[in-house]
């Protein structure tokens, strides 16, 4: 709000004031009021009008300027209602009261959706756990009744389980609340679990699984990390070459972090597609040709990594290799806190 805009805004008031002034002049002329008196009346009138305008301007300017500054500095704009001082003029009061009511009704509306989303999330989690029961049952049945088709059946079950895990972690990653637990985890333990999970398909496809120097501890949620690594390995398997394929996992300790690299000599990713692989529902050429892809795996991986505070990046050369790197930061505070408590 500046002077120019204010005057523009008040053009009706000002023009009425001018019209009235001319009417007053006409009346003064008609009554043949003398020259000095006319000027005196004109001055009084003018000063009166200007001071009314200026006073109103000052009062509003203070309020609106404060409003604008606070609004600009705010990250969450809707909190503005809590930050304003009660204005001294009526319009301002009406505005504040309206904002307050709008805010309140919006919060109520958001809460309705929030609880709906929460209910939905809880239902999906429950549903996934329920579905896992028949999957377990089927796995045991296949194990108990040896048959020729067993390998194929198990492979399909493992696909099913993978999709279930994906939606479970999608729901977890999209939700604002914290349902992970960060503690010291040995990388070799997590990798061992994933290796066993993927053993059959790795052996079936003749992909060598090479693991070295992973006996390192990092701060993470082991279940989340297991899912993250499983998605990456799953991609490596999906996009492996037919001959001499391998997946290599190496960890390296740096001063401020631990780097974990998952390297495969698969078909790789086109250079122009690399920056987009972590985008939601993005499927590159690889995902569209032959191998089915939902475009969700790496997106969820990225979301989970961000929540856990890990950095994830991807490097690839088409037809040569793909390397996914996860960096686990070391937390000095954690160490200090631990030392103090023990």
């Amino acid at each position: 709000m500046n002077k120019k805009n204010y005057i523009k805004d008040k053009w009706l008031t000002i023009s009425i004031a001018i019209v009235i002034y001319f009417i007053i002049l006409l009346i003064l002329l008609a009554f043949k009021v003398n020259y000095q008196a006319t000027i005196a009346i004109s001055l009084v009138y003018l000063i009166g009008i200007i001071s009314i305008l200026v006073m109103a301007y000052m009062r509003k300017k203070k309020f609106y300027q404060e409003l604008k500054e606070k609004l600009d500095s705010l990250d969450k704009k809707y909190l503005i209602v809590e930050m304003l001082n009660e204005p001294s003029f009526l319009e301002g009061k009406v505005l504040i009261d309206s904002l307050y009511d709008i805010n309140k009704s919006m919060i109520e509306r958001i809460n309705t959706y929030k609880s709906q989303t929460q209910d939905f999330k809880e239902y999906v989690e429950l549903w996934i756990h329920e579905v896992k029961l028949p999957v377990s049952s089927l796995t045991l049945m296949i194990h108990n009744h040896k048959g020729e088709e067993n390998k194929k059946l198990l492979e399909q079950l493992s696909r099913l389980d993978n999709y279930l895990e994906q939606i479970l972690y999608y729901v977890r990653s999209e939700n604002a609340e914290k349902d992970y637990l960060i503690k010291k985890v040995n990388l070799s333990k997590v990798i061992s679990n994933i290796a066993l999970k993927n053993k059959d398909i790795l052996l079936e496809k003749g992909i060598d699984f090479i693991v070295s120097d992973v006996n390192l501890e990092v701060l993470t949620d082991s279940k989340w990390l297991e899912f993250i690594l499983n998605q990456i390995i799953d991609n490596s398997i999906k996009y492996s070459k037919k001959q001499n394929a391998y997946i290599k996992i190496v960890a390296k300790e740096e001063k401020d972090r631990v780097d974990l690299a998952i390297y495969d000599n698969g078909i790789g990713i086109k250079k122009e597609e690399q920056p987009r692989v972590f985008e939601k529902t993005y499927t590159g050429t690889n995902g569209r040709t032959g191998k089915k892809s939902t475009g969700m795996g790496l997106y969820i991986v990225k979301q989970l990594c961000e929540k856990l505070g890990h950095k994830v990046s991807i490097k690839s050369q088409e037809q040569e290799f793909t390397c996914v790197r996860i960096s686990f930061l070391k937390n000095d505070y954690y160490e200090v806190a631990k030392k103090e408590t023990t």
Binding site: P134, T139, N144, K183, S188, L196, G206, S222
Partner: protein
């Protein structure tokens, strides 16, 4: 035979689990009444309990705490709840292991074997006929000779030894190897077995391991 109590409310899983465990040579008790589990355990004296977390009317974690108050029987929690909080809670309440559904039955059996072994006295020496097996050093010893096995060969030999006179499939051997962080491929397994055979031959146990075509291997007593 070790006796395993299955506390699982999904009847289909309980039934299949019973069959899996019995095929592997365990005695099993399937729980049908979930109100008196504590009393049942006192009566039945199982060697190990497989405990589901989601039970009718009761939380498996609470039950676990109650059992632990008076009993030291090994307990493996089995659950479809795949999250860290539940695992940490279960372990802190005294569970011996935590397995999530759906699990690979071979791995479940390995874990059960490991937990049962842990509850026995630790053994650092095994015997095969008149052969002394020292896993820590990777040594097979006769009266006057000894051969050194690699880590992989020892894992294979111990697995065969614990399943003497039974057909051991390549998949079982592979699972055991991978479970011990030795991620070898099919060729390497074949090579390891023939090396193991050669080493056994050196000390006069040529016919110890028999190959059953398309089935697996047997270590004869």
């Amino acid at each position: 035979m070790p006796k395993i109590k299955i506390v699982e409310d999904d009847l289909s899983i309980a039934e299949e689990l019973k069959q899996t465990l019995e095929n592997a040579g365990y005695d099993t008790i399937v729980t049908t009444d979930f109100n008196t589990i504590i009393e049942q355990i006192k009566q039945e004296q199982p060697d190990l309990i497989l405990l589901d977390i989601n039970l009718p009317k009761m939380n498996g974690e609470v039950l676990l705490q109650q059992i632990r108050k008076e009993n030291n029987v090994p307990i493996i929690m089995v659950t479809s709840k795949n999250n860290e909080v539940d695992e940490v809670l279960s372990m802190s309440y005294g569970a011996d292991d935590y397995i999530t559904k759906p699990y690979n039955p071979t791995i479940l059996l390995l874990r059960i074997g490991a937990v049962l072994k842990r509850s026995e006295r630790p053994i650092d020496k095994f015997f095969y006929r008149s052969l002394e097996v020292i896993p820590q050093k990777g040594i097979l010893k006769t009266n006057d000779e000894e051969v050194v096995l690699t880590k992989n060969e020892m894992i294979i030999f111990l697995y065969l030894l614990q399943n003497q006179e039974k057909i051991v499939t390549r998949d079982e051997l592979m699972t055991d190897l991978w479970n011990n962080d030795e991620y070898i491929n099919d060729n390497a397994l074949t090579v390891n077995i023939s090396r193991l055979r050669a080493k056994l031959k050196e000390i006069g146990y040529e016919e110890a391991i028999e190959t059953r075509k398309n089935q697996g291997y047997i270590l004869h007593e």
